[in-house]
């Protein structure tokens, strides 16, 4: 685990760069994490996905599957992959400050 300073706040990250304490998250942190992970600018559509992932995790304790992400976030699967080419669930979780999704779907 490493500690880093993002937008003047101390952030704990695991070995893969996922935040280990979701309460340290804020929008500036999300923007910084996005740009470090190949997404230079977060559009409204990105935010929709990131917020959905984060809220669902905070409510249920688990991140949604790609299936429910595509059905319930308001962003269809095709667009999810256009927004996050390197893996929508994984990247949106990282940017949303929650642990890496463990599900297989």
């Amino acid at each position: 685990m490493t500690m880093t300073l993002i937008a003047d706040s101390p952030i704990d990250l695991d070995a893969e760069g996922f935040m280990t304490d979701s309460s340290q998250w804020n929008e500036q942190v999300a923007e910084k994490l996005a740009s470090e992970n190949g997404i230079p600018e977060l559009t409204d559509r990105h935010w929709l996905v990131v917020r959905f992932m984060r809220e669902r995790y905070l409510e249920t304790g688990t991140a949604p599957s790609i299936r429910s992400l595509g059905k319930e976030s308001g962003v269809p699967v095709k667009e999810l992959y256009q927004l996050f080419p390197k893996g929508p669930a994984k990247l949106a979780a990282k940017i949303g400050g929650i642990p890496k999704p463990r599900g297989c779907i």
Binding site: I66, R67, V77, K78, Y81, G103
Partner: protein, 168 residues
């Protein structure tokens, strides 16, 4: 003076991550089709490029007339831990299939038609094996629209170049 054999210079550095997979689905039972679909979807979720190649009875997974009725094999399937004699009873395969589908729905694994749509939308390219298509007397019209092309084994290897091939 001692002579030592020189170590051959490594020609290329092996990449630390898998960048591309080509998955072959060759069986037409529920338990024969799902692993390939789950692996293809899982690859895309990790940002890995993925192709699916359907051959022999695996073609049932992309046949319009069959992909909604895929069943668990209840005969000659030791994994079910019950005698094959029970497996032949009318309706038994349908029963086991229903039970398994219910379990899968619980962990958010979609039914095969929805799964085919999901992987295609995720950027997985779907191919049908030409030899099997010819053998069964099928045409492109027999397949779901997500199928990109009917290709030969040689073309499959061309498409799979630079990646890992997984046979299921």
């Amino acid at each position: 003076m001692t002579l030592t054999l020189e170590k051959p210079e490594p020609t290329a550095i092996e990449p630390k991550t898998i960048e591309k997979v080509a998955i072959v689905i060759s069986k037409g039972s529920l338990e024969g089709i799902y692993p390939g679909l789950i692996m293809a979807n899982g690859a895309r979720m990790e940002g890995i490029e993925a192709d699916l190649f359907f051959t022999f009875f695996g073609l049932d997974a992309i046949r319009k007339d069959r992909y909604e009725g895929i069943k668990v094999a209840t005969v000659g399937n030791p994994g079910l831990h019950m005698p094959s004699l029970i497996g032949v009873l009318p309706g038994f395969s349908a029963l086991v299939t229903r039970m398994m589908k219910r379990q899968m729905e619980k962990i958010d694994i979609p039914p095969i038609p929805e799964f085919i749509e999901l992987v295609a939308d995720s950027g997985v390219r779907l191919f049908a094996c030409k030899a099997t298509v010819d053998m069964f007397g099928l045409t492109a019209d027999d397949f779901v629209p997500q199928v990109e092309d009917i290709i030969s084994v040689g073309e499959f290897y061309e498409q799979a170049a630079g990646g890992q091939i997984i046979f299921t």
